[in-house]
């Protein structure tokens, strides 16, 4: 069965648990960079969570996403549970859609991801409005668009270790 996605045309190596953890920590570290007042910074942790929920739904689940959301809340000084709720919902949606998403080429996958991330942000916005916050403006959603544009790049980077040949070739860098 030929698939359009070039990443699925050959068998991938199994994903390593250590690499998944490392990539999640990297996403978390990116989110904790001092983005003073820069608007449109993508939530990279959400993108990485989506990636692993789509590609490895049995290794990355709702519980992990929830805990990472709690960490984000603690580090950000946001309402405690806001990111946790949003990331849990994101993980659920990504897991349920993973078969569908993987059948599309990368740029169409990015469109799916855009909808998922924007819905996540909308959920956070609703929670904060209910808790008495103010609407921060449409620029709040720009981060999701940037994140969706980054999706193909993130896919290439995070799938690279699984595309290595099974027999390790000493002369090949990756």
């Amino acid at each position: 069965m030929p698939l359009e996605n070039p990443g699925q045309q050959y068998l991938l190596l199994p994903a390593k648990g250590g690499f998944i953890v490392a990539s999640l920590l990297a996403g978390l570290a990116f989110n904790m960079l001092p983005w003073q007042d820069v608007r449109g910074v993508p939530d990279l942790l959400a993108v990485v969570i989506t990636f692993w929920c789509v590609h490895q739904p049995r290794k990355m689940g709702i519980g992990t996403a929830w805990v990472l959301g709690l960490v984000m809340d603690a580090a950000n000084g946001a309402l405690f549970g806001q990111h946790a709720l949003a990331y849990a919902a994101l993980a659920y949606a990504a897991q349920s859609l993973h078969r569908r998403i993987l059948r599309f080429p990368l740029w169409q996958q990015a469109l799916h991801v855009l909808v998922l991330l924007a819905a996540t942000q909308l959920l956070m916005l609703l929670v904060r409005l209910a808790a008495g916050g103010t609407y921060p403006g449409i620029s709040f959603f720009v981060g999701s668009v940037v994140a969706a544009v980054l999706w193909p790049l993130v896919t290439l980077l995070l799938l690279a270790p699984q595309r290595r040949p099974a027999e390790v070739d000493e002369t090949r860098p990756i």
Partner: protein, 304 residues
């Protein structure tokens, strides 16, 4: 005999069940946090756990800023030096005048048998990063509970009030800026002593002087300083400058917009002031009165 699927196919609870569980847990946490502030110990624990990662993430950025400062050109440094020298002269004059006024003030206070204003230790801190939360205006400073920061301490920079410590973690503290929507600060118009309360407007850059009568004597350009009646901010710190006044006869109140004088975007160094213990708190005062009254009224407890 039971025909259960082999362990190989076992995947735990259904995803929708998991989502429901975690969503309910999040809602519970949010309610606890927003209404009762019960989630604080757990938040502190998590924040302490990610502190090393956070420092790792910040390190390259702060190294970049510091190296940029290091390579500052000599002309700029000389110009800055000259400016500072001039400012110092100007300040010295004001300081001398202030000294005499303060001495006089202390004498008068002693005459009135008033308690002297406690000028406790202030703590120097640096802003590590601005909160990523787009719904509130907060900055994180690099001093925390370990360094003696306590809840409610006012934070200032060279120009005026920045905000107030609203959350203390062991190594970091969170400062809510005066422009935050949920932040209120009692102020006084410096020109005529008119008192009011300034709120953050929520758009991130301005403040509002609310509940001022439409004919209140406030003019564009008036400086608002802390009035000190809240027992948190010491008296006389500049807070904001009035930039716009809209007086509409249809409303009972004027819409007064002010621009904070302190620049949290330009400066990284801030000063955390000790809490002012000048004004006796209301509870203490009424408590004392109640205790006196209670003593005479309360019947002696019966012993069995």
């Amino acid at each position: 005999m039971e025909y259960a699927p082999p362990q190989f196919f076992h995947r735990g609870p259904a995803p929708i069940a998991r989502l429901t569980f975690f969503a309910l847990l999040s809602v519970l946490l949010m309610v606890l946090d927003a209404r009762f502030r019960y989630a604080e110990p757990m938040r502190q624990l998590l924040a302490l756990a990610v502190y090393p990662l956070q420092q790792l993430a910040i390190a390259p950025v702060s190294a970049l800023t510091h190296s940029r400062e290091f390579f500052a050109t000599q002309t700029r440094l000389r110009r800055e030096n000259n400016e500072l020298r001039g400012e110092k002269l100007k300040d010295a004059e004001a300081l001398l005048a202030l000294e005499s006024v303060r001495a006089e003030n202390e004498q008068l206070k002693r005459l009135l048998a008033a308690r002297e204003r406690l000028t406790g230790d202030s703590i120097f801190a640096e802003i590590v990063y601005a909160g990523r939360d787009p719904f509130s205006r907060k900055v994180i400073i690099d001093r925390g509970g370990q360094h003696g920061i306590a809840l409610g301490q006012p934070v200032i920079d060279a120009a005026g009030v920045i905000g107030q410590v609203t959350r203390v973690q062991p190594l970091l503290a969170e400062v809510t800026l005066v422009t935050d929507k949920d932040h209120a600060i009692p102020v006084q118009v410096v020109r005529n002593g008119l008192r009011g309360v300034a709120y953050g407007s929520g758009d991130g850059t301005t403040m509002e002087l609310r509940h001022m009568a439409a004919n209140a004597e406030v003019e564009k350009g008036d400086v608002l300083a802390t009035s000190g009646i809240d027992g948190v901010y010491p008296r006389g710190l500049p807070v904001a400058r009035v930039v716009r006044i809209e007086r509409d006869a249809a409303y009972a109140f004027a819409k007064i917009t002010a621009q904070p004088v302190a620049g949290t975007d330009q400066h990284r160094q801030v000063l955390v002031l000790a809490r002012m213990d000048d004004t006796p708190t209301w509870a203490e005062e009424s408590g004392r009165g109640a205790r006196k009254a209670g003593k005479s009224k309360r019947p002696p407890r019966k012993t069995d």
